[in-house]
Symmetry: C2
Subunit: 218 residues, 2 copies
């Protein structure tokens, strides 16, 4: 019984995720689902990426949060089109939540849409939202064991970002073990080691993303 | 329909949480539910606390993880009684999971039982497990805005710990704003600012916990 309810919810979600994907295709949107623990640097990565790629693409952002509009305010302050979804007690974004707000953007030019999921390494991995790319951001202060402890989200991601490589915690962070674990879980996802604070590694990540955008939308 | 399923699950959980609480009382256990984001320092805090209070209390640990036994191995290596619960794709511990393993410890002396929840600032707040104390650990690298973004878990906690106060990120961390937000959400929970790396602040936290243990179990 419990399993059936769960399966029904996931199947209904998947159906709407496919509708979102159709909408993105029709409107020349590359949708990027950004997943991470609380405080790993989702908003910082989105802002740093937009800053670098603004000359080459148009951008939109959907912010998913349990509560508050802190990140939305940060993004709106830069003049970027942004919508807030407050999920209340829901620990992840799902396809219907995204579908309900998509009509509220303008789609005059091809664009990259960042969808910042709720800070959580578990549930967002289970609920597809129809994005073209799913990415997970780990961060050095969280420790090198996160892929081993939360494998599903690393397995389902198209790229893995490791943020805060300038952190002092990097002395205790076993980088080879982190890379070996993520490779073992997901051989096809590239891993970009970045620091949103110093800008390190962002060019490689942005280059990869731009290529995906151009291949789909131009 | 969806709401009813949810309510039924929460009600069934609450019933078993009360049974766990009865078990703890009968066996002179102070049970502490430890909640936090991935990588905030749950295991480090548990180990540092046990090290300080070992002369005054007996300890047990239950480790909740999606996958792996990394933390259980760390704790067992110190000779502490520990049980692993792997939740699979479940993003939190619930009362039945705890109830199923409780019989496997010895209860010859009064003890403190740490129950390390899955790393997640959302779902663990909703599912009581019958613990005497619920605590949440935030950490400086996660940023000062976590209480505003994940209010429920801060509202439901009996103590709030802020870990990694020695982090270099503390330059960007707005400590007054963090304290003001947590106070606004939860006036009765003390906030302990700690560093498991340097030992700062641990005496105050351990003193508070020991008092709770003595009041209940001795």
């Amino acid at each position: 019984m419990k399993i059936d309810v769960r399966r029904n919810i996931l199947e209904a979600n998947q159906k709407l995720a496919l509708e979102n994907a159709e909408f993105f295709k029709a409107n020349r949107v590359l949708a990027v689902n950004v997943m991470a623990s609380p405080g790993a640097g989702k908003t910082s990565t989105i802002l740093a990426t937009i800053e670098r790629l603004a000359p080459q693409a148009s951008f939109k952002v959907i912010e998913g949060d349990i509560a508050s509009s802190i990140d939305t305010d940060k993004i709106a302050a830069r003049g970027i089109a942004v919508l807030q979804i407050n999920t209340g007690n829901m620990c992840h974004l799902d396809a219907p939540m995204i579908g309900r707000v998509l009509q509220r953007f303008d789609y005059d030019a091809p664009s990259i849409l960042f969808i910042e999921n709720v800070g959580n390494l578990v549930c967002p991995a289970e609920f597809g939202i129809g994005a073209d790319l799913n990415i997970v951001i780990a961060s050095v202060p969280e420790g090198h064991d996160k892929p081993a402890k939360y494998p599903a989200i690393f397995m389902k991601s198209d790229a893995i970002l490791l943020n805060k490589i300038d952190s002092r915690d990097s002395e205790e962070f076993d980088r080879p073990l982190f890379l070996e674990t993520t490779q073992g879980l997901n051989r096809s996802a590239p891993c970009f080691e970045i620091s949103c604070r110093t800008g390190a590694g962002l060019d490689a990540w942005c280059g990869w993303l731009l290529e995906k955008f151009q291949a789909k939308c131009l």
